[in-house]
Each structure stands twice: as structure tokens, then as C-alpha cells.
């Protein structure tokens, strides 16, 4: 059964999503349970294959619809004719992260979103969003990648506009859909340029065939810019604040996870097509570093002046993407340079960048969930109107402190580990970049001090204390535990998952 796992990761959520409208007509509890079952199944599947891939170094290939799905080409051909799926350590790292986090967010949303018939559609769109993410992560075919990118963005856009009775969410959904539609159109244009030359969509085949001509460079730019746009890199970040602040809290976390998965696509495509020639990989790496520095700086300076708690967190999301791009960009600039600099610091920078991806997903998800709890308690998003939550909600205060200290890079938590790895390795490439990164980190701490001071400290508000539902508390607690565990014992995840992932990306 292990050979079918790549397709099952996509097909199980899709099957659940297709059946939910029929089940929801009969029983609402059954509908929620079906969603949980589907998510638990893909979680189990991803852990089931983890040992085989990480320890034995096996790479799972799957040709959908072929009579021998593990064989890349049929009938003695030199090129694949069917849609290829592939799981290597790099995608497995993202798959494990995604399946774990979506289950937590789903559990959070079961009690956070009020129960009515509309929640049927919420559940459907949530599960299709997961299917879109899994499709992006397993796809080894550019057009399939495009289709699942659309699935992810259309379901996210609808969920962003979930609270239609309020004034702004529909427009936020429109904005997100507009940005996604334009981005994916240009992505398709890039796919067309590659197809015109090589007659194939398979990423592995194109990687071998690509020659680094002018058309290839145009195609690579057309593939990379849309993905950078979807992951919220600075010159293209205009959709982020509205989208994250208007969506319900679990959906903000999910959209954030979706943008990290677009970042996966960015890395996968740039390392596949850029690695073959040094005159492609070096400018790409420099582009990543420039994007990264811009994102870090613009994101955090915008966040400092916000008074809306969710907008503030949205701008921090922009700023955090910069760290990952910085780490991966430094790796990409030196990977083909030929001297010892890659072994010296390039690989370490990439490890730091990837570790920051999972850390960021954890604490950013937790921050969005706590912001949902805060907004629900105070009935407003304005920080000036919030005060004194710490007096009666100790649990939320503690998890918020954990997340805020983690995002600012304070030692016992996971943000510190990845940031210090990035600082040290980037320092050997260029000390100025490290200085900027440390400065941004300090500003992040300042901005979260502001949130903590105004929302949690101060006089207790006159509102009646509200007890959080048990599943809401549970999901936040699990995220906090992950943050602390990775912060105290990072060697485990570094050795087990991230090093094989980086090796797979380089030797891919």
C-alpha cells in the first residue's frame, strides 16, 4: 500500500469533501467527524512513509493511471506521458508539517466557528483547501501544480470572505482572489513557455532537458514571480494585511500555511530549474536575498505602526517570510560557486531557512489563533480598546507569551534556534545582512511588547470573563508544546528531517 500513498494524500481529502454535502444533509456531527477522519488518515499516511523516506532514502514516484505506477516511463519511452507525483525528503518535510498543522487548525475551528448549516460549506472548503495543499506538495508536474494552486486559492478566497454579514470580508476575499487569479494566469504562461520548447510538464524531465536559453529564463521568471506573489514577498504583499485580518482566525492560520506551501513551490522550482546552470542560480539567489531583506524590513516597520491586532500579525507574517528567503537565497547563490563556501555556510543557511519555515508555521499559527480568542473576547480588533485580559484568561496569556517570545527570537523557544542558525551562516556571507536581520528581530520584539502591554496588562475590562471551549484550548496547547519542544531540543528535527530535506533539494 505504501506505493499508493502519494495519490492517497490527495484523494482521501477530496473523497471526504465530495461526500460532506450529502452527509451534512443527514447529520451535522457526522460531517465534522468525517472531516477529522480524513485529516487523521492523511496524517497517519504521512508518518507511515516518513521512516522509509528519511531513513532509507527512498523516493516515492507515482504515475497516476499507469499500469505500473512506480515506473517513470512506459513502453520504453524516454519521457513520461502521464502525471507524475513524487515524494522526496524535501516535500515530506512540508507534508508532515502540513498534515499536523491542518488537523490542529481543524480541531480549533470545530468549536470556534458557530454551528449552523453554513458550517457544512465551511467544512467542505476547509477540506478542499487541505487537498489543494497536498496536491501542491506531491505534484511533480507543472500543470497539476497549477490546478492545485487554483484549488488552494479559490477555496481560501471563499473562506476569507466567510463572514459575509460584516462590511469588509467580501472585499478582502475579492482582493485575494484577484491577486491569486492574476498570479496563476502568469504561472500558466510560464508553463506554456516551457511546454513549447520541450513538450512536457514533468519537473524531473524538464530539469534534465532545460538548456538555460533566453526562453528558459523568461519561463523561470514567469514561474517564480507568481509564486513569490502568492507567498507574500514584499513588492507583491498588498493583499496580505486585508486577507489575514478579515478572515476568521483558523482561516488566517490556514492561509498563512498556504503561503508557506507556495514558498515550497518557489524553492522547488528555483532549485530544479536554476541548479543546472551557475549563471541562472546566482542571480536567482541574489533575487531571493533582495526579496528577503525587503520583506523583513518593510514588514516589520509597517507592523510597528498598526493598531489593529490582526493587521499587526499579518505584517509580521510578511517580515518572517524574509528570513526564510534570506537563508535559502544565501544557499542558492553559493551552491554552484565551486569553492568551499557552500560546505562552509551555504548549507547551514539553507537548514536555518527550512527550520524557520516550520517554526514560523507553528508560532504564527498560534498567534493567529490567540488573536481570534482576543478578538472574540473584546469584540474589537483595536489594540487601544483592549486591556487586562491577563486578569482572567491565564491560559491565553501564557500561550501568547510563548508565541510572542518565539517570534522575537528569545532563547528557550524555537524562533531563537532558526534565527541564530541564519545569523551565523549569513554573517560569513555578508555581515551587513545579519545586522539587518538582528535589527528586524529587535523591532519584532518591540512590536509584540506593545501588543502584550495593551491587551493583556492594565485594568481588567468590565466584560464578563469568557471560558474558552475545550478543543480551542487543546489545539492552542498542542502548538505551544511543539514550540517549546523544538526550542529545547532542536537537534532531533534538524537531524531527522531537515538535513535529508536540504540534501534532497541540492542533489535533486
Amino acid at each position: 500500500m505504501i506505493k499508493h500513498v502519494p495519490v492517497l494524500l490527495v484523494a482521501i481529502p477530496l473523497l471526504a469533501a465530495f461526500m460532506i454535502p450529502m452527509i451534512g444533509m443527514v447529520n451535522r456531527t457526522a460531517r465534522t467527524v468525517v472531516g477529522v477522519i480524513a485529516l487523521v488518515m492523511i496524517l497517519a499516511a504521512s508518518y507511515y512513509i516518513a521512516g522509509d523516506i528519511l531513513v532509507h532514502g527512498r523516493i516515492l514516484y507515482y504515475m497516476v493511471g499507469s499500469s505500473n505506477p512506480e515506473m517513470l516511463t512506459e513502453h520504453g519511452l524516454t519521457f513520461p506521458i502521464r502525471i507524475g507525483l513524487k515524494i522526496d525528503p524535501f516535500s515530506l518535510f512540508f507534508i508532515i508539517m502540513t498534515t499536523t498543522l491542518v488537523l490542529i487548525f481543524y480541531v480549533f475551528s470545530t468549536q470556534y466557528i458557530e454551528e449552523n448549516e453554513r458550517k457544512n460549506y465551511f467544512t467542505v472548503l476547509f477540506i478542499t483547501m487541505v487537498a489543494g495543499m497536498m496536491g501542491l506538495l506531491v505534484a511533480n508536474d507543472l500543470f497539476t501544480f497549477f490546478v492545485f494552486l487554483e484549488i488552494l486559492s479559490i477555496s481560501s478566497a471563499a473562506l476569507v470572505a466567510f463572514r459575509t454579514e460584516r462590511k469588509h470580508p467580501p472585499y478582502a476575499g475579492y482582493k485575494y482572489m484577484f491577486v491569486s487569479a492574476v498570479a496563476t494566469s502568469f504561472f500558466l504562461l510560464g508553463v506554456a513557455f516551457l511546454y513549447a520548447q520541450y513538450g512536457s510538464f514533468n519537473i524531473d524531465y524538464l530539469k534534465e532537458a532545460i538548456r538555460g536559453t533566453l526562453l528558459d529564463k523568461i519561463a523561470i521568471v514567469l514561474l517564480i514571480i507568481p509564486l513569490a506573489m502568492k507567498s507574500g514577498v514584499v513588492p507583491m504583499h498588498m493583499w496580505i494585511p486585508d486577507t489575514y485580518s478579515e478572515a476568521p482566525a483558523p482561516i488566517s492560520a490556514m492561509v498563512k500555511l498556504g503561503s508557506l506551501i507556495c514558498l515550497y513551490g518557489l524553492f522547488r522550482i528555483s532549485f530544479s530549474f536554476g541548479m543546472s546552470h551557475a549563471h541562472v542560480s546566482y542571480p536567482l539567489g541574489v533575487l531571493f536575498i533582495v526579496f528577503g531583506i525587503l520583506s523583513m524590513f518593510v514588514g516589520v516597520t509597517q507592523a510597528l505602526v498598526q493598531k489593529d491586532v490582526k493587521r499587526l500579525m499579518a505584517f509580521h507574517a510578511v517580515s518572517q517570510v524574509g528570513y526564510m528567503l534570506l537563508g535559502m537565497g544565501v544557499g542558492l547563490t553559493v551552491v554552484k560557486s565551486g569553492d568551499a563556501s557552500f560546505a562552509l555556510f551555504g548549507k547551514v543557511a539553507m537548514i536555518g531557512g527550512l527550520l524557520h519555515v516550520v517554526n514560523n508555521a507553528l508560532y504564527k499559527g498560534l498567534l493567529f489563533l490567540t488573536s481570534g480568542v482576543m478578538v472574540r473576547h473584546f469584540k474589537t480588533r483595536n489594540l487601544d480598546a483592549m486591556h487586562g485580559l491577563a486578569h482572567y484568561d491565564v491560559f491565553t496569556t501564557v500561550v501568547f507569551m510563548i508565541a510572542a517570545l518565539a517570534i522575537s527570537g528569545i532563547p528557550p523557544f524555537n524562533g531563537f534556534v532558526s534565527k541564530i542558525i541564519i545569523y551565523e551562516s549569513v554573517f560569513q556571507y555578508n555581515p551587513v545582512l545579519t545586522l539587518i536581520a538582528i535589527f528586524v528581530s529587535i523591532l519584532t520584539l518591540a512590536s509584540f511588547m506593545k501588543v502584550f502591554y495593551s491587551a493583556f496588562l492594565g485594568m481588567p475590562s468590565s466584560r464578563r470573563p469568557m471560558e474558552q471551549p475545550v478543543l480551542v484550548k487543546c489545539s492552542m496547547f498542542v502548538l505551544a508544546v511543539f514550540i517549546v519542544v523544538i526550542g529545547i531540543y532542536p537537534q532531533g528535527i534538524l537531524k531527522a528531517i531537515i538535513e535529508p530535506a536540504v540534501n534532497a533539494l541540492i542533489n535533486f
Partner: protein, 119 residues
Amino acid sequence: MSAIVLYVTFILLLTIGIIALLFKRNLIKIVLAFNILDSGINLFFIALGYRENAMAPIFTPAPLDSVITMVLPTPQALILTNIVIGFATTALMLGVSVLTYRNNNTLDTRKLRGVEEYD
């Protein structure tokens, strides 16, 4: 070589779409602009698989010659997918703009800009 007009039309459609996307302020017009852009890309993809004096890749109506020339089938299949996706995007964007109008009484992006209220 007169078929180069297909590529030129593609570029024109794409440029018109982008200009309208950037300069139009009405939400409905932006949706239309996106549709123009999308059809430009569809045209480009189909043109990539075009062969002169070839027929559609369907054997039922094919002539009984010894050699038949056919256009490439994959772009056609993919464009079918992209048309459906474009339709879905359009439907969702129009639906959301209906709601935007009901909540804000305007479709003008200049008036919609800025989410200042913290509700």
C-alpha cells in the same frame, strides 16, 4: 507565416487585460479584464499546438487517407481545464463583488480602500 497573427493577438489581449487590470477602478470591470487576460493565455496555449493543414485529433470524422496530420491534443485538453478554472474564478469574483456592493454601496476601489474599522 501569416499565422504569426495568433501570437500577436495573444500579446495584444494580454496587454489590454493588464492595462485594464491596472487602470480600471470598478470591480466588475476588473473581472472582465481578468477574463480578457485569461483568454489571451488560452489562445497562446492553443497556438502552441497548432499545425498547418492539420485536423482535430479525433479519428471519427478523419478522412481515409494514408497519412493524416493532426494538431497536438494536450494543449486542447489543458485549455479545457483552464476554461473551467477561469469560469470558476469569474463566478466567485462576481459573487463576492455582489456582496461587496450590498455591504458598501459602491464598487469603486478608491472608495473601498482602507479597512479602518475594527469590527
